[in-house]
């Protein structure tokens, strides 16, 4: 079954490492839905969060193949592990006349922010997990979405609750 998986990949922060990881996906026909890269805690390392789709066997291969890349330090997958996941996006919507009030109400319900306004458009900043952002996009569609920019998911394992 084609399921959504979020992978967390810790890599050496060196030239070409993104290309090694991206090349693995393209070369083996795996799908990248979203990809986020930024420096990680330890100096000289970067953290990649990759969202992909695939069945269990493909996921297993992706994990193993990622591990095999010499510049990859650690790979984790968060389907069965308690984790927090967030993504940020900007949505520019058409906003004229009576629409403006309704857009603002929607923005309120989802605890988003309006970060830019013109006489005819509004740009909304939203943060949430994958489902929440999909829901916001679904609701904003009827106003007319002009543009979307998303960061891709980032994910972190939850701390243990037990003391």
């Amino acid at each position: 079954m084609q399921e959504r998986h979020v992978l967390s990949v810790l890599v050496e922060n060196e030239p070409g490492v993104l290309s090694r990881v991206a090349g693995l996906f393209s070369g083996r026909g795996y799908n990248i839905y979203s990809l986020n890269v930024a420096p990680a805690l330890e100096e000289g390392t970067s953290h990649m969060t990759i969202t992909t789709f695939g069945d269990a066997q493909i996921l297993e291969q992706i994990m193993k193949q990622l591990h095999k890349i010499v510049s990859v330090i650690k790979v984790a997958e968060y389907t069965d592990i308690p984790a927090v996941e967030r993504e940020m996006m900007f949505v520019k919507v058409q906003a004229e006349g009576a629409m403006r009030g309704e857009i603002l109400r929607t923005v309120d319900i989802f605890r988003c922010k309006v970060i830019d306004v013109s006489p005819t458009e509004m740009t909304i900043e939203a943060t949430g997990d994958h489902e929440k952002l999909e829901a916001i996009i679904g609701l904003l569609h009827r106003f007319g979405i002009k543009e979307i920019a998303r960061t891709g998911s980032v994910v972190m394992r939850r701390s243990s609750r037990a003391d």
């Binding site: 890599v11 050496e12 070409g16 090349g23 066997q57 291969q61 095999k68 010499v70 990859v72």
Partner: protein, 564 residues
Amino acid sequence: MELTGAQILLESLKKEGVDVLFGYPGGAIIDIYDELTKHPELHHILVRHEQAALHAADGYARATGKVGTALVTSGPGATNAVTGIATAYCDSIPLVVFTGQVSTALIGNDAFQEVDIVGITRPCTKHNFLVKDVKDLAKTIRQAYYLARSGRPGPVLVDLPKDVQLGKTEFVWPEDVFMRSYNPNYNPNQGQLKKAIKEIRDAKQPVILAGGGVILSDASSALTELARMVKIPVTCSLMGIGCFPASDPLWLGMCGMHGTYAANMTLNNADLIVCVGARFDDRVTGKLDTFAPKARVVHIDIDPTSIRKNVRVDVPVVADCRLALEALNEIAQTKLTGEDWGKARASWLGTIDSWKQAKPLQWSKGGKYLKPQHVVRVLNEITRGNAIVATEVGQNQMWAAQFYDFDKPRTLITSGGLGTMGYGLPAAMGCQVAFPGKLVVDVAGDGSIQMNIQEMATLVQNKLPVKVLILNNTYLGMVRQWQELFYKHNYSHTSMTGQPDFVKLAEAYGAEGYRINTEEELKPTLEKALASPNPAIIDVTVEPEEDVYPMVPAGAALDEMLLV
């Protein structure tokens, strides 16, 4: 004392125990070549094409088990090397390739003879480096050799900009290598081994499928010990040939597309496959859905990605093949020696014997020309299976694999995964450099040989007495065979009339040329040619439309073989 990058490179090679380099100079690597003449202990073989430098280093690595080293210039020198790098990558052969590069200041400016070779080779190297600072050079070389030979071996490329070759720094050789992101696992999990032992004990119809990993990890004797101890028959992928003696009664021959009837029938009727260092390539399994339907699978491999990539595995063992087999043998010594395995397996081995008897490897007699299979048998007879045999790719390769009796590992040198035509001659050259006193034969076709025939000049210049045995059918035989069998005899561009006179060609290079047309000429001429102290081409006219059998058509089940 400060050394230049070029000096550091050569000193580092000596630290790594490198004694021979295969290469070709050019503008972006000239500073290293300038230094090279001051280090006579580093033997350099000047090839005639960079692809051949890579194949020669690869042949050297396969024959010796050491890391092969190649040295080429930037731009076209580097791109010419790519086929050789990919060939080594597909067969997990340890190589380190040094490429010249334009100065760091020019990188990205489309300078003369500049290509992004690190980018180009990213998917066909185990790892690669662009050295931007001479201070990193020694450490990078140390890592490159470590990566090439450790874990699942493979080619590593080190790109050396001209200013790094000329830059100066203190030479400090790092005795230890540590890479936090790279820690190959060698030791088998004891729990998994116990499960494997149980599978072996419970199986009624087991078979061992051995691959190139057995040869790479020098596990042949451990594998042979296991097979003989518990009487399990052995088949190999093309890459595994030689890891189990062909003279042993438990030997089934190669399996897969051109495998023996007995090997393929055994696999598809087995209730247990112990796969060691093979990766269930499509040429081995045939149609995956129907592959070994009754078999449970124990899979030993150092690379976790090989496991469960193509087939379901019941007992995965991620480990070095030799360490895993030795540990397995140790447990088997205490747990499995109580039983009379000869008796326990009598019925299974009897069934296999009947398959062997029913459809042995054979060829149809008659016809006007020598049969290529017969030529390989005669080669086997003359050399008593003691030559190192390199092959080109295609029918010649399959006939060599089928009809030459390989009793020892590292004696069949062939491009398995990538199937690179033009591989055999330069690879044979690398073997001959490694073993000057041994007989090295390249079993070739008239098509493949012309893809790197310029290396005859290298043989002559370096007095390397490689023998090239051309099975000349004036066709690209394997493609022609597919056209005959699956494309309604439409021989589209596979006929190679207008071939050169290979005897004269050999002589033009300063080598010896022999021609064989008849049965009467075959043995005496071949004996004479093989005994020569010089490089030689032996051009044998063979049946033009001979096919390789058995054959499992692409996409068919392993037991759906076309037979002679």
